[in-house]
Amino acid sequence: MPEQHPFTPQTRRQLLTRIGVAAGTAAMYQAMTAMGHAAGTDFTSPPTLTGARKGTTVLVLGSGLAGMLAAYEMRKAGYNVRVLEFQNRAGGRNFTLHSGDSFTELGGASQSVKFAPGNYINPGPWRIPYHHQGLLHYCREFGVALEPFVEVNHNSYLHATNAFGGKPQRYRDVMSDFNGYTAEMLSKAVNQHKLDDILHPDEREHVLAAMAGWGTLDSSYRYVKSDRVSQRRGFAKPQGGGIDGAPIPSDLLPRDEIMASGLWNWLSFNMRLEMQTTMFQPVGGMDQIGKAFAKQVKDLITFGCKVSAIHQDDKGVSVTYTDVNHGNRTVEAKADYCVCTIPLSILSQLDVQVSGPMKAAIAAVPYASSVKVGLEFNRRFWEEDDQIYGGISFTDQQMSQISYPSHGYFSKGKAVLLGAYMFGSAAYDFAGMTPEQRIEAVLEQGSKIHPQYRKEFSNGVSWAWSRVPWTLGCCSMWSEQARKTHYKTLCEVDNRVVLAGEHASYIGCWQEGAILSSLDAITRLHKRAIGAA
């Protein structure tokens, strides 16, 4: 049933069309930006660095996205670039565990990925908001195929151990009922004249109309079981065809339980700018981005370089590293400038010759712990039994969430889902477990949402970021105080060295942060190198 609108103001689209017709698209874009339509990260276009002095050398430390992008753009600008990488793989935290991969974490535990061929899990970044335009620009430039990543699924589950007897509820039901009850209460307050001190009589009417529509209230402003409400939250007996096709409306969840459940937390989580549709993922795994970047700069990268010192003077930069692929010999690499993308958790422990304030900044940023678990099941029971196609179920158990694959819908055979993704205390706890214990805990917790877990489980793999030798943590975790004191210093060009990475951005823990930080760092380094700053 179409919902009633009390008045029809000029829509934004109508207004924008008029501006566009009258003043051209540039004015329209400006107007759109002013109205908040074109807002995203502050990426506009890749830098055009011109006037580099011939023969100027740059050492880039780290071949994650920030490092590879710095190498790509600086070579394009005419610099002589070399990249030193600790691992024997480019991409950094952008990577994917595929069937057949194996790895050993700090502490010595080894795991093999026993997924069926073609199946994978992204232990690091795994989704890209549409407004991360810097990253998306380079995906397009480098030919990375993207597909939609489903973040919000109204048919997924929300689960709290102590709410509704521990029974998971459909996202749709919680959303409808939470909105409906809230609208009902607000309408009641308005109608009982309890808000007259803040609402102008005209606005009262607008609020009442809005609440009636938003909350699916009846003509008496009540949120009650009805066909109309079930058009939103689903029917007890769904609409059918033919003689017995009449639907039966569904019962509402009790208001006090909805409010006490905390389940509304996850509704608001998905309202964040970062989680809004449309989101993307690379086809075949997040590592397709790292691979596409590496294709551009692979001739510049030396693998197996364990950096121990970064020194500099007025003439240049000298980086000492252990060449782990050639008998651990000590090597000194020299260059005119250095772009250092080594995570601060590592860099803060190296011998780095920078100013005192810069040193303090490098040491001021702790790294979050995070754990992911990938589970392979014999069949897509979440699709076949529960009609869940992509999206995320949330729980207040340690595992925090289940993300269903956003690809391969309706396919037969084994499939992998993200069975846990946690930060904070749960991540500390899980990082302290053995890989076997992590899988067992996630199966136990996940069974509360999907009883099919035990029966359909095939194999699993876990990734604890604090057990990763080349990051010693997941990503930067700024406090407001540290940001105020140290952020600008961290981003400054320190004589001949500049830092880049998600840690030097306001988009921490996202790939976009690495991209924008890198572009900004090399732009300022370039200015310094040509004597313009």
Partner: protein, 146 residues
């Protein structure tokens, strides 16, 4: 204000979430849905705290771990533990890549875990500390960004 991360009550998710946003260290990373901090096992003894919080980095045997030119420090044979004030400072404030636990662990839990590492892994310090010793060293709780 200490966040009631490890209590169990019916209203825990709501209370914890409200506090997380307001006053405790960043429990929700930008890319995580952990804005309701998950229920963790109750941690009363120092051994509990060590197992559920510390050993993921410092390892179950307290020997730390060696990464790419950097490490998680060992507790076994670490002379910096001689003065209990040092580990209390580090747990409260963090150190380099290690996050702060001020506001995430109670004074009691911090005292217990400091006592635990100073009497385990071959350490035999006898000057145990109390929650009040931690309270005396405590700066304001940092504000996590969200």
């Amino acid at each position: 204000m200490p966040a009631p991360l490890f209590r169990t009550s019916r209203l825990l998710p709501i209370v914890a979430a409200a506090l997380c946003l307001a006053a405790s260290p960043r429990l929700a990373r930008a890319d995580a849905a952990a804005n309701v901090d998950a229920k963790s096992a109750p941690m009363t003894t120092g051994a509990d705290v060590y197992r559920h919080v510390c050993q993921g980095c410092h390892m179950p045997d307290g020997k730390g771990a060696e990464g790419a030119g950097a490490r998680f420090p060992a507790f076994a044979g670490n002379p910096k533990l001689a003065d209990s004030g040092y580990p209390v400072y580090v747990v409260l404030n963090g150190f380099g890549g290690m996050p702060w636990f001020n506001g995430r662990l109670t004074d009691e839990q911090i005292a217990n875990v400091v006592n635990y590492i100073r009497t385990s892994f071959g350490n035999h310090y006898t000057d145990l500390i109390k929650a009040s010793d931690v309270a005396g060293q405590k700066p304001p709780v940092p504000t996590g960004e969200d």
